[in-house]
Symmetry: C2
Subunit: 394 residues, 2 copies
């Protein structure tokens, strides 16, 4: 009897056995998911591309292997009962291979495609009648320029696959701009599509945790503030008619794409309605505030959802929760060296991801809870600034 056979239930086992959850990818999302798993006593295995990855330095059971090696992925999968993901960058062919071998992916390869292939997502959501910006597939530069001429400049040019945190998104102000973006992207083999540049009053995110049965819970609507395409701040909860509409829209989308686990639906509030920005089929930066700010964190509910366990309450524990990302500023300056200064701010929680500090890199986040949005924002920003002081030496 091999361990593999035992784990797959191919032989009789002496007692019921808790399922093993595998996580492919070992970034901060896997790290925070691992942290949440400790409370549940849940067995978790992590597949890391690199031994210095955020979750690889903290979890007990880590396998280091290339995410592009089918043999390694299959070997890892054979030790897990359910597999989930830290990010959407795994090659879709690998996901199909895992499913063909009978492994349980949550979300499935089919629904993950909505997070991996933005053009596919747009087509699917548009055909379901959901509000997406005007868009078109652009196989040639002429098609891109034609689209801009037709709907008016600027247009948003996006990589079909692989972009996140502002990467893979460009604004083309005119046909010359479009040509430059096209040439650079195509030189790197990046497929592009185009969509209308939507006027934005503010950006909202809705987090939904969904079980395979369809049962789900929805977190309070969260406003997100971006800078250079990177989320820098979130404020929750947002209430009112737009928030209600955002919640209803997010639930419909999650149902339509058959997602399982946490899903974050990012929306543009145009002042005249909601337009879908992105859909991420995983725990998401916009919901980090739920670790302290909600009765059940997005990470614990992600675990519960993918293991088909009853979901926990998404209710907020305070009138206001503000999250501010800790983004590397000075090369080599580790925010961990400034913990004492940051923790001096009252009533904040610091999360550091143990990542190599680099300017522009997300190294952690701060969450503040409070009764008043202005004061809560102030405290969150003060602590985040303390972790990344200007001019701190390497």
């Amino acid at each position: 009897v091999t361990a593999d056979a035992l784990l797959r239930g191919a032989v009789a086992t002496p007692a019921p056995r808790q399922p093993v959850l595998g996580i492919i990818g070992a970034g901060q999302l896997a790290r925070m998911t691992y942290q949440a798993s400790l409370g549940l006593g849940q067995a978790v295995r992590i597949l890391a591309a690199d031994p210095t990855d955020s979750a690889a330095t903290t979890a007990r059971d880590v396998t280091v292997a290339s995410l592009e090696d089918p043999e390694g992925l299959l070997a890892f999968a054979s030790t897990c009962d359910v597999i989930t993901f830290d990010h959407e960058l795994v090659d879709p062919r690998m996901l199909q291979l895992l499913e063909q071998h009978g492994h349980v992916l949550r979300p499935s390869a089919g629904s993950l495609r909505h997070g991996q292939d933005k053009l596919h997502q747009r087509r699917r959501l548009a055909s379901a009648g959901h509000p997406v910006p005007a868009f078109r597939a652009t196989d040639t530069l002429d098609e891109l320029v034609g689209f801009g001429q037709r709907i008016g400049w600027p247009v948003v040019v996006k990589a079909v696959r692989g972009g996140y945190d502002g990467r893979g998104v460009w604004i083309a102000a005119n046909p010359d701009d479009a040509r430059r973006i096209w040439d650079e992207a195509r030189a790197r083999g990046v497929a592009l599509f185009a969509e209308a540049h939507v006027p934005i009053v503010r950006e909202l995110a809705v987090g939904v945790a969904r079980r395979p049965s369809g049962h789900h819970v929805t977190y309070p609507v969260t406003e997100t503030v971006q800078s250079d395409g990177i989320c820098i701040e979130t404020v929750a909860p947002i209430v009112g008619p737009i928030a209600d509409a955002a919640t209803a829209l997010a639930r419909a989308i999650v149902h339509d794409i058959g997602a399982v686990g946490m899903v974050a639906v990012e929306l543009f509030d145009t002042g005249r309605g909601l337009v879908i920005n992105e859909v991420a089929l995983r725990p998401h930066n916009s919901m980090h505030w739920t670790i302290e700010g909600a009765r059940t964190s997005q990470f614990q509910n992600h675990i519960r959802a993918v293991l088909d366990l009853p979901l926990g309450s998404p209710d907020p524990v305070a009138p206001c929760a503000v999250m501010v990302n800790v983004i590397g500023r000075s090369p080599g300056d580790d925010p961990a060296n400034h913990l004492a200064s940051a923790l001096a701010t009252p009533d904040i929680a610091v999360h550091l991801y143990g990542k190599m500090p680099r300017p522009g890199r997300k190294l952690g986040h701060v969450t503040a809870l409070g009764d008043d949005t202005a004061d809560t924002r102030l405290r969150a920003h003060r602590a985040a600034r303390a972790l990344t002081p200007t001019g701190a030496a390497a």
Copy 2:
């Protein structure tokens, strides 16, 4: 340049380095402390007596060694900047040895003695004027019986060292009982002392986190319910004049014994005032509710306190928090097999410690938050019962 020299700051290092926190012992307290450390991005090393210990199966950096081996302890300590503890069972001579070699213990060997040696604690607190039950050292059976005859039976007989969770505490109803307890304990080499049996209206616990500077925060007063000497339930917060007196008393005690880190002061409310029951110099079962129920958990504040970092808010996040311990009932029946049933109870959090299930053993706990004590207790007990169903087969 050895790693050891680098860690001790004996040579110039290229950049400031975050201190390494060592934890001696790898039970559930170390496990939950490790979980809290992940948020802070804090480097933690754990010394486990056994590789199957609760924290040893979840932490990344675990050394397995006997806690009675001075070489092993010194080798472990030399890789840490600050050392703290999962339990108070480390031999006091070992603690002195570590301090003699320049290692930083928090709490110190001197203050830890108050948690290790109950007779020492009683003497110290009595001499500081704090309310302890009438007690006496009993070097002979005659002294024990004489104490009972003088203050009246029953008397409480306690092991000077090594008892917890009801172990090491006996009630002697009469001289014959006293002789039986005496003979059994002395046959195992256990030193005893005696104290008056105090009438109890209820039991209270106060958690204090204290930095080396003396700065501290105090958690809301918690009522604890014991059965067979094991804590089975806690309810927080308790308010009113007795709670205020308990808070003031706990602060004074923590100051007097020079504790650093989390301290739990367990008190008897006799209906005519407070009497000290136990003092534990570590995170404590009575404060587990703070993981979900307070702005900062006892585990995170323990880490902050021993590393001399600013402490987090101990304020509650809900009107009521109830914790119920998950105590093994059927041999071999792992509560992890009943997660789905337990999580079906609304608004509860489950913590399982990954320990081998045995009847009477603490295997986890459940925390419920709510507005109403009766309803919150009901939910916590329902979920805890679901984790340990009667008659579940091995």
